[in-house]
């Protein structure tokens, strides 16, 4: 297409820090990566993935559940669990309790994790999904408690456990309480394993620190969305401390696959199918339960999301 047919966007609302799309007039969205304009209905239909450059925009926990689970199958648990601010924390006069309230109002969530039960292409599963809009999906007491309750329910109901994570790590405002949630969530997964129930972990952009260094990497199968940034320490911290030049593609999902840290890079549009295929195998092998009435079988796990 000749260039002059391409109209330059004329809107002036730009936000370089925002990973999400900038919506000029509601009809078109601008991809945060390639800056191209995408028809917003297309963007939604493609699970908020840019059809031009394949950039996977961040999802809210609610959108995640909506995209991944069979329509109307999600039953949310433990919505009322919130932190009790054990340190009475404030930084520079900003009280943590105020911040929690403001964040709740802004994000519509009470905490940075939602948990519950749902179906993926007919297969029942327990799911925990992080809410990045809530203090960077950081893990504190409420997150840990909700997570562990969900794992315990999975054991009780004999269901597979699926976690979908992006997070900045453990939440500083609860200090050692947050740190200990790493031990607590992982210990619960150890029990899940003793009951021969699988934990499948989906890593999305960005996933760092105490979440990566605990439950998210203690999974029987780990998948990640294309281009997701995943690691222990953030790239800026590494550069600052070590003065090392980081290679291109460092800490991307593809980098982790290459280094043997994850099983598969899976595009968002193929995630439900990939999961359902796995759930089919585990349902047969370990849970001794009947397959659902309808089963999608394809070679969806054969190739990596390229």
């Amino acid at each position: 297409m000749p260039d002059f047919f391409r109209r330059k966007p004329t809107f002036n609302r730009e936000n370089a820090d925002n990973d999400g799309p900038v919506v000029p007039d509601g009809l078109w969205v601008k991809c945060a990566k390639c800056k191209d304009l995408v028809y917003s209905k297309d963007f939604e239909r493609w699970f908020r993935v840019c059809p031009k450059c394949d950039h996977h925009a961040r999802l809210t926990a609610k959108q995640r559940v909506e995209y991944l689970l069979d329509s109307g199958s999600f039953e949310e648990w433990d919505r009322g669990i919130v932190t009790s601010d054990p340190l009475n924390f404030s930084a520079n006069g900003d009280r943590y309790s105020d911040k929690l309230r403001q964040t709740a109002e802004k994000s519509g969530q009470r905490e940075s994790l939602i948990t519950g039960k749902g179906r993926i292409r007919g297969y029942d599963a327990v799911i925990a999904a992080t809410e990045f809009g809530f203090l960077g999906a950081s893990m504190g007491s409420a997150f840990g408690e909700k997570f562990v309750r969900a794992v315990e329910q999975a054991i009780e109901l004999r269901l597979p456990f699926i976690s979908v994570s992006n997070s900045g790590g453990a939440r500083m405002h609860e200090s050692t309480f947050s740190l200990m949630q790493m031990a607590k969530t992982t210990a619960a997964l150890s029990r899940l394993g003793e009951h021969k129930l699988p934990h499948i972990s989906i890593l999305t952009d960005p996933c760092y620190g105490g979440v990566t260094a605990s439950y998210a990497m203690v999974a029987d199968i780990i998948m990640a969305e294309p281009g997701a940034m995943i690691g222990f320490a953030g790239p800026r911290v590494i550069e600052q401390i070590t003065r090392q030049k980081l290679p291109d593609g460092f800490q991307t999902a593809e980098f982790l696959l290459e280094h043997g840290m994850i099983d598969k890079v899976c595009r968002r549009s193929e995630l439900a199918e990939a999961l359902s295929l796995l759930l089919l195998h585990y349902t047969d092998a370990t849970m001794g339960r009947r397959q659902p009435d309808y089963v999608y079988v394809s070679n969806g796990l054969g190739e990596d999301g390229s």
Binding site: I81, R101, A213
Partner: protein, 292 residues
């Protein structure tokens, strides 16, 4: 020291290079210590020392973060910041202990896990996570002692033990005060305030019931090294004997259940399901009431 010593002062004491480090404790408390090297995967991380020896007449596996006492030693030891190879060496020792039914003693003293290119490439996060998983269900008794700095996940990776002790002038937190200040105060020079806010002293963590006992330092450890180490050994012995008794009288599964509940119950949350009924949370008053 007094209970009211400022947190920042504790941080500085905990970091003092002259303070006894893991090998000082090991050499004084473990007889016939044989250091074991390497993770059998990639390398031998000098920031973690591991080995086998006798503690008060019983064979134990012992390990710890190892800092240096001067800059040169610290460069050799990577300032006590382990990479994945260090955590995998520890994991090897945990499994070894389980195989032969030896209890485990861990000395915790690290600014944090190594943040470097190689560490990321070899799976730093995975290595830490796998240790947390292994420790949760390890079928031998274990005691951990924070002797200096308990820096975040890098410390946690060898401290998910049946009993967790802290020296009076040691600290344990989710992040260093400097890092916390840089992020939440937007100014790393606010570290003293961040140290206070993080409630990272042994006294704080005992009140929160996150640790089991404080080993007192009548004088700071570096000024009374022998006494401090002996006193630490006595407290370790008391706790180890208690959990060994649980394991032998009630069975190891009982000890594992106690360990699971210990970590399962750490958290400070409230369930507002009833009163909120679909509404957003109301302003909360800080209760400072953990585990409620």
């Amino acid at each position: 020291m007094t209970a009211t010593t400022p947190a920042w002062e504790r941080v500085q004491l905990a970091r003092k290079p002259e303070r006894p480090h893991s090998l000082d404790y090991i050499n004084a408390l473990i007889s016939g210590f044989v250091e074991l090297h390497g993770d059998r995967r990639f390398g031998d991380d000098p920031a973690v020392v591991t080995g086998i020896g006798a503690f008060n007449g019983r064979t134990v596996m012992v390990l710890g973060h190892q800092k240096g006492s001067n800059t040169r030693e610290n460069l050799d030891r990577n300032f006590g910041m382990p990479g994945p190879d260090g955590y995998r060496k520890a994991l090897r020792i945990f499994k070894h202990a389980e195989k032969f039914d030896f209890p485990i003693i861990c000395f915790i003293d690290t600014p944090g896990a190594d943040p470097g290119l190689g560490s990321e490439e070899r799976g730093q996060a995975t290595a830490i996570a796998e240790n947390l998983l292994a420790l949760a269900s390890l079928r031998v008794p274990s005691v951990g002692v924070v002797i200096g700095e308990g820096g975040s996940g890098g410390a946690l990776a060898i401290s998910v033990t049946d009993r967790l002790l802290m020296l009076e002038n040691s600290v344990y937190a989710v992040a260093s005060p400097e890092a916390c200040a840089a992020i939440l105060w937007k100014d790393s020079s606010a570290a003293p305030e961040a140290a206070e806010a993080l409630k990272l002293t042994a006294q704080d963590l005992l009140e929160f019931e996150i640790i089991d006992e404080i080993v007192p330092e009548l004088e700071p450890a570096h000024e009374a090294m022998d006494q401090t180490i002996q006193r630490t050994g006595d407290v370790i012995e008391r706790h180890l004997a208690e959990i060994e008794a649980i394991a032998s009288d009630q069975g190891i599964d009982n000890l594992l259940e106690v360990r699971y509940q210990k970590y399962r119950n750490i958290g400070a949350w409230v369930d507002k399901q009833e009163e909120m009924l679909g509404e957003l949370p109301t302003p909360m008053t800080a209760s400072g009431n953990p585990g409620s």
